[in-house]
Symmetry: C2
Amino acid sequence: MSARPPHQPHLGDLIGAERDIVARLAEVDLDVDYDALAVVSNIFRVAAMARRRIEQVALAPERLSWTAFTTLWVLWIWGEMESRHLAAEANVTKGTLTGVLDTLEGRGLITRRRRTSDRRLVMVALTDEGAEVIARVFPNVNATEVEVAGHLSSRQRRAMAGGLRAMVRGLAES
Amino acid sequence: MSARPPHQPHLGDLIGAERDIVARLAEVDLDVDYDALAVVSNIFRVAAMARRRIEQVALAPERLSWTAFTTLWVLWIWGEMESRHLAAEANVTKGTLTGVLDTLEGRGLITRRRRTSDRRLVMVALTDEGAEVIARVFPNVNATEVEVAGHLSSRQRRAMAGGLRAMVRGLAES
DNA sequence: TATTGTTATACTCTATAACTATA
DNA sequence: TATAGTTATAGAGTATAACAATA
């Protein structure tokens, strides 16, 4: 039982929140996997906090949306790429990608060209200015990532990275 | 150097992707914290995959959006609550919450009532039907969480949960 | 017939800010 | 003056489906 009065939820008191959840779910007599709940719900918490911070600190000053940044990043790392692969990498539908590419093309950051061998395909590449933008933005993104992961010991960081990779691999298969 | 030909990115080959990133960032001669990059970017990956799966498996059949589910969940755990606290818990702005509550109220899942002591405040609570819905939906959400976290050993799960809590606490303070 | 990219529709969520009613 | 909730606006993302061009 929590000593905290009702109508005043935890608001950042994570351990207290988790205790409340256990107590409440015991009341309603449901069979719950609390370890899985803790892992997944805290991944959502960290992801939301980190994304918000990156958007405010690194992306908003450059007027880049999250997806626009991801798109530039993928093109920066892997170079010119078919549109369908770019959509898969950036984790957006092809419809969404069309809109994002329209915006980035209008701002002169990417180019599109039809493939001659298969004229259904569109190749997307960074322009010089697009490369300049992502090279300027990424260090600020990484600095925010350092801030986020900096609350871990280096041992914790390694364990986290390993566990996350295992989850990504497992989810990609199933 | 990767043996993978250009124009065929990794698409699920996580280790290969991370190797490509290291190689490419060395080329452009930027000082990068790869540990922080790996932790944060893989948190985003797992969060996106898990959220998509939960939405498809558990929420879509009940016609609940992610935020609507979160709202019902918070009310289920902590009971009747001031609207401003509910917004903070559900991680949405008060404007967004107004819209979500309109929808849920229209479907008879929650109620709103003005506080008489301070008539600026609105108290939000589950209806009986709202409690039935969340009690029916949550086990399916938790089952998906088990699927997501099930790719970890129990030792990894504990390490993950601990690390994530440390990050949440650290981010909440700074 | 199947695939790629584009277009269209409808919905959800976001940030921001103005507005009201209350305190 | 400050606060809580509502309303309004514009933008970004989603799913779904229809469509034209191409294979």
